[in-house]
């Protein structure tokens, strides 16, 4: 159980300026997964990178998993681990399991109860699976996380109402414009949240949609869905002045639009209002663009206060979700412990089979005149006897395994077995609680 670990940074502990330095673009993820597997070392690793978090989930026996993961993340991003340490959190065992359940259910999200994170977690898991970076442990964990998230969404009202980043952003858009029918929305890049925002805008009646993407094919594909126009990225600056709403979510490493771009654009527009929504991490639009008259620039962090208000409104649902997370974690860990008893059962069965075989051979030596039919009957008798004798032992092992690794070890000792299944210690060997350098949550925005 203690081999489940997670290390990460999120919007609660790291500001956007820090998060954008750690974000992984889609094309960098496969290489990063392999690097983590080598450095930890481990067989199973999943890397989740969204605009609000970067998290590494692993199932590893490495006793210094935290330091190694920290080092791996820092090396991969070309930063010092000391710098990273002040923003990173690390969970092991049950805490790691509960953390993944909370993340998948949107309880740890900027927008409480949002459902987009679930698809992002699924995508991260599928990518790791396609790269052969998952095994029985993480497969089981992630599948249970998906079930738990669905349970929370179905059994509580945590995801009800218009509380996604996209819908909140559209709320702000409506405070700038009243007649969306005469407005043009420009989508730069083709991220999931960006497209969802565009869907909300379309539903709100936005007049024209322009999709700009690095590849014209991709732009056309998205534009077709919204009955809009597709434009290659090279022509972005030509189309910018015609846009009243700009949504940007590219995976570019640097800024796509600068303050100077907006100054030039606003001069052409007669300083009519422009709503710019930067959903990208790292950010696409220079922060200074917000200083331009008529430009209202928002990024994912800017929605935090609004989200906090909604979180307050749904605190009762939150309690129910927390109980679901705890129950599901209990159930998963109990099941996983039983599963962890597998090697011990196999070892016991192996021992019994060896003994049975040895005794059969000795008997055959002594009773050479026995006909083959009789020999076969004796063999079948011995198998049935061993199976019946072992059955209560197997039951005991499974029961003890469900109680925890200590019980399992005691059972192994009683039965004279070497393996103890999941035999990692309960306490975190490299991280004493008293000296745990957990990051401090960011203060609320004024």
């Amino acid at each position: 159980m203690q081999r489940f670990v997670v290390l990460g940074i999120n919007h609660k502990f790291a500001p956007l300026e820090v998060r954008e330095r750690f974000a992984y673009s889609d094309r960098r993820l496969p290489a990063a997964l392999k690097a983590f597997r080598e450095i930890l070392p481990c067989e199973e690793v999943v890397l989740l990178s969204t605009c609000n978090r970067v998290e590494v989930y692993s199932f590893t026996e490495a006793p210094e998993a935290r330091n190694r993961m920290l080092q791996a993340l820092a090396t991969d991003q070309g930063l010092k681990s000391d710098f990273l340490q002040q923003y990173c959190y690390f969970h092991r065992g049950r805490e790691a399991v509960e953390h993944l359940f909370r993340v998948s259910g949107g309880l740890d999200s900027l927008v409480l109860g949002e459902t987009q994170i679930l698809s992002q977690v699924k995508r991260a898991y599928l990518l790791a699976q396609s790269e052969n970076c998952t095994g029985k442990a993480l497969n089981g964990l992630f599948h249970r996380a998906f079930q738990t998230a669905k349970k929370m969404h179905h059994e509580t009202g945590i995801s009800e109402g218009q509380f996604s980043i996209s819908s909140i952003a559209v709320g702000f858009v409506k405070r700038v414009f009243d007649d969306l029918g005469s407005k043009t929305a420009l989508l730069i890049g083709a991220g999931e949240v960006g497209e969802l925002t565009l869907t909300y805008l379309r539903d709100a009646g936005v007049g024209r949609v322009i999709v700009v993407s690095r590849t014209l094919e991709r732009a056309r594909e998205v534009a077709e869905r919204f009955k809009g126009d597709a434009v290659p990225l090279d022509l972005l600056h030509d189309y910018l002045p015609s846009a009243d709403i700009v949504i940007s979510q590219t995976s570019a490493e640097g800024r796509v639009l600068s303050k100077a771009d907006f100054v030039a654009c606003q001069k052409k527009r007669g300083f009519a209002p422009v709503f710019a929504l930067d959903l990208a991490v790292p950010r696409d639009i220079a922060e200074e663009a917000a200083e331009v008259d008529g430009v209202f620039l928002y990024n994912v962090d800017d929605l935090e206060q609004v989200v906090a208000d909604h979180a307050m409104e749904r605190s009762a649902e939150l309690d129910v979700c927390r109980r679901i997370v705890a129950t599901e974690a209990d159930s998963f860990l109990a099941g996983f412990q039983a599963y962890a008893a597998g090697p011990m059962i196999a070892e016991l069965r192996q021992k019994a089979a060896s003994l049975q075989q040895a005794e059969l051979e000795r008997l055959n030596e002594r009773l050479k005149d026995l006909p083959p039919e009789a020999r076969d009957e004796i063999a079948r008798f011995s198998e049935r006897l061993v199976a019946k004798l072992l059955h209560p032992q197997f039951q005991t092992i499974r029961t003890e395994a469900a109680k925890g690794p200590d019980s399992l070890r005691r059972a192994a000792a009683m039965l004279g077995l070497d393996g103890a299944g999941e035999a990692a210690p309960e306490s975190n060997p490299e991280q004493p609680a008293a000296t745990d350098p957990s990051p401090k949550p960011l203060p609320p925005k004024a």
Binding site: G171, F172, K174, R175, V176, F177, D178, D179, G270, F271, P273, A290, D293, G294, F296, Y298, D302, L303, Q305, V306, D309
Partner: protein, 301 residues
């Protein structure tokens, strides 16, 4: 003092039905203003439509007042300054109802009704000086139309100032990414920008024509004396400021917050002209008094 002024004016100058209707109208606007402001801050508990209903009843009472005055006097109900200003308030109220019917802007009532109450308060404060001395003056139809247009223009500029104020609040809140309290219920930035522009565009011609008629009511020989009065000077500065707001908006060098600030400056000049000078610069402050004084001096020579 205010109540005394109001009572002495209404009791002595008008009959009972007109007095009751006027009281009802002013009380109605006062209640509508309170409801309107409450609806701005707590829209979940208080609805702007209640303010509109109350304001509608008040406007109806105002129409009854003018009807009663026609019956009483047998002539058009614009016999003194009080009535001219009251007629302007009625026009403003009707403009509010028509515009909100054409383009619903729920928050506007929270500003329009206090504006109407403000006009009545100022009107009542100045009523003592308006009823007697000016009764004969408004017999000149040019002066009556001049006052009507200028007060109407001031009312429109009040709306512009309110729009500018709301624009500044909304713009600041959006820049600061705030989404709580009053700002959530304000009209969109775009509609405020449009309202601001249109009100100035409507108000400026009203003011211009009003000024021209005001000058036309006097012989050219008295124009020099008129221009020397503080009220006319301030009015001309106001006119120049509003002209700059319109030109600046059209040419593109004035936009956003700067445009709003200039409109607010214009409204500050309205207050100075309409209220400040009216209250504190009685002697020689009025263009009519100044013009008459100059005529007396001239005839004396």
């Amino acid at each position: 003092m205010l109540a005394q002024t109001f009572h002495s004016f209404s009791n002595s100058a008008i009959g009972l039905p007109a007095s009751v209707a006027l009281h009802a109208a002013i009380l109605g606007y006062l209640i509508a203003a309170v409801i309107g402001i409450a609806a701005l801050y707590a829209p979940a508990k208080v609805r702007m439509v209640w303010a509109d209903w109350t304001g509608g009843v008040a406007t109806l009472a105002l129409v009854v007042y003018f009807g009663a005055r026609v019956v009483e006097s047998g002539v058009a109900p614009l016999q003194n300054m009080f009535e001219v200003v009251t007629a302007s308030a009625l026009c403003l109220a009707l403009a509010y109802f028509v515009s909100t019917r054409l383009k619903p802007m729920p928050a506007l009532g929270g500003f329009a009704y206090p504006a109407l109450v403000g006009i009545f308060l100022v009107n009542l404060m100045l009523a003592g000086s308006l009823t007697g001395a000016s009764a004969g003056e408004v017999a000149n139809p040019l002066i009556a139309v001049h006052v009507l247009l200028v007060v109407l223009a001031y009312g429109v500029f009040f709306m512009a100032a309110v729009a500018a104020w709301m624009f500044l609040i909304q713009e600041r809140a959006l820049k600061q990414r705030r989404n709580e309290g009053l700002v959530k219920h304000l009209p969109s930035l775009e509609s405020l920008r449009r309202l601001l522009h249109r009100t100035v565009l409507v108000g400026l011609p009203l003011l211009t024509v009003g000024f021209v008629l005001g000058f036309a009511a006097f012989p050219p020989s008295q124009w020099g004396a008129l221009l020397a009065t503080p009220k006319v000077l301030t009015s001309l500065v106001l006119w120049a400021v509003l002209l700059a707001a319109v030109v600046g908006r059209f040419t593109g060098w004035l936009h956003g917050r700067r445009h709003s600030y200039l409109v607010l400056l214009g409204f500050a000049l309205v207050l100075l002209t309409y209220v400040g000078l009216g209250l504190f610069v009685r002697e020689g402050g009025s263009p009519r008094q100044a013009a008459h004084a100059r005529t007396d001096v001239c005839s004396g020579l």
